[in-house]
């Protein structure tokens, strides 16, 4: 049966109606209006579903899966304190949605949904175990074990972004040092890049190295694609830091596949070269040369498609 996937972001709520094979039949996107509080946001989620199926869910609808940006009490289907949704202390979202729509509803973390989307419809379709990593402001990730989301003891698993690769390394917003997010999260990545560019007047990006200049990951990718060797080296080195964290996760969990998406992953070859070479050099001998680093295939649809497949 067809299912609905919802991705509740801090900025937009996205919804899709998909077939069991992952064909997107309809889609909707509405501003979250998070600052207006939980009841308004829940109303917008309902509105998104109405745009897909009308006022009443028909017998064709297998259920609704929802990805939310925060922690979940899986036993009660409750969203717990999502940091980007003011006023959502503990929201029994499963109960609220099932009452309105009379179909089964499942929740999961948005990063877990993105990984599940890649597992079911994207780059992970042939892979039993992988970690999906989404690069952006933060580093989101979800762990897939035997083709299911791995939740850990209490549902908090998958914080790959807060695996430290240097206990004396740069301070991370979480309070720890050397977390991978403190190297490849957008603001950290840009700050590092500016620092390096300041020593390279030959780079086309040199003018953007000043403190008050805007520099984006896309600027760096574009400069690399146009042949700027400094930009290429910056992206390669970002890949190397990711490769270090990947080798640690591969050793600990015997997970030999990593699917990389989000912002800076669009940089392509230099980033992926850095990841692949470092990960495959640093892992234990039994894994060496066997760590596969795949680009994500679904782009921004990974989260909603994964949410829709929670019911599968």
């Amino acid at each position: 049966m067809n299912t609905i996937g919802i991705d509740v972001g801090g900025t937009n709520i996205k919804a899709v109606l998909i077939s069991p094979t992952g064909e997107i039949l309809r889609r909707a996107s509405l501003p979250t209006e998070a600052q207006r509080g939980r009841d308004v946001v829940i109303g917008i989620i309902h509105r998104g579903i109405e745009l897909l199926v009308g006022d009443v869910a028909t017998g064709d609808l297998g259920g609704i899966g929802i990805g939310v940006p925060g922690s979940i009490d899986f036993d009660h289907g409750t969203v717990l304190h999502p940091p980007n949704l003011p006023g959502w202390d503990e929201v029994p979202l499963v109960a609220l949605m099932e009452e309105r729509w009379k179909v089964p509803v499942l929740l999961d973390n948005d990063a877990n949904c993105a990984a599940l989307g890649e597992a079911n419809f994207g780059a992970g379709q042939e892979v039993s175990h992988f970690i999906g990593i989404t690069l952006g402001t933060g580093v989101g990730s979800g762990i897939i074990i035997n083709r299911e989301i791995y939740h850990g003891a209490r549902g908090y698993a998958g914080e790959f972004g807060h695996a430290s690769i240097d206990y004396n390394g740069p301070l991370c917003a979480c309070g720890n040092r050397g977390c991978i997010e403190a190297y490849v999260g957008n603001s950290y990545l840009i700050a590092n890049a500016k620092q390096r560019l300041a020593a390279h007047p030959e780079s086309v990006l040199y003018a953007m190295a000043t403190d008050d200049a805007t520099l984006t990951p896309k600027d760096i990718s574009d400069a690399s694609a146009a042949g700027d060797p400094v930009a290429t080296r910056i992206l390669y080195d970002v890949g190397c830091t990711l490769g270090i964290a990947i080798s640690n996760a591969a050793n600990l969990m015997d997970i030999p596949t990593f699917i990389i998406g989000g912002g800076v992953s669009a940089a392509g070859k230099p980033l992926f070269d850095g990841i692949r070479e470092t990960a495959n050099t640093r892992v234990l001998k039994v894994h060496r040369g066997g760590i596969a680093i795949l680009p994500a295939a679904l782009g921004n649809d990974a989260g909603v498609m994964g949410a829709a497949s929670l019911l599968a």
Copy 2:
């Protein structure tokens, strides 16, 4: 039914017959004679079982579980290239044992068996998810998820000793840098301790800081227990390095419990203080204060008892 557990070590083969509740009914230990090759060693395994049950397994015996120091092809019950057992290229140990003893036989890695032993009969009986860590020449570990051994994609999971906490850190025998084993494995630990002791003539261990003096982890524990503050600080700092790696694993896998055994874990309080304080400071806020560090309860019996419970 009663089961037999075997631990095939590089030096000794240990065997126990245990009841379903973990009571050790009989035990045997024989030299492995590893250098005499696989057929001799397999004969010694048979001899160990004979010492427990006589020539013929009776209907009272539920099966035999075997822990081996190396990788396993689980589909075929084959031991693959154990580094400490010369001549064991690919040994179909399950088939060989089932043919002789006519009971079900299961294999697993020895570190996984030790973790399973603690889960079923030791410090992990009330815990759903934990990592069992055995400190010694190397750092052995096994991951328990939902009370079962977690094997990963191909059976290699659990290499906690080769999680790096500093990508520029000390070189590990595996080729990577900053692996936790390169801080707390016995030879690394002793080398670090000697270096520190050389600057502390007030320590009772100062005379053992010279290059050619023998210093053991037990010497350091004993000195600490007798009130030597330098020894206590060394053990505390070893605990801190373990705590860093533990916080990384807790963040990634949402595993909030760690059971620590083996050699230097006998040092007790200073080591455990270092682990607990560091792990609970560095983890993400959701885990802070909630990471439990438990001493292992079964000592050297963890491996054989876990092996015996593979059949459960």
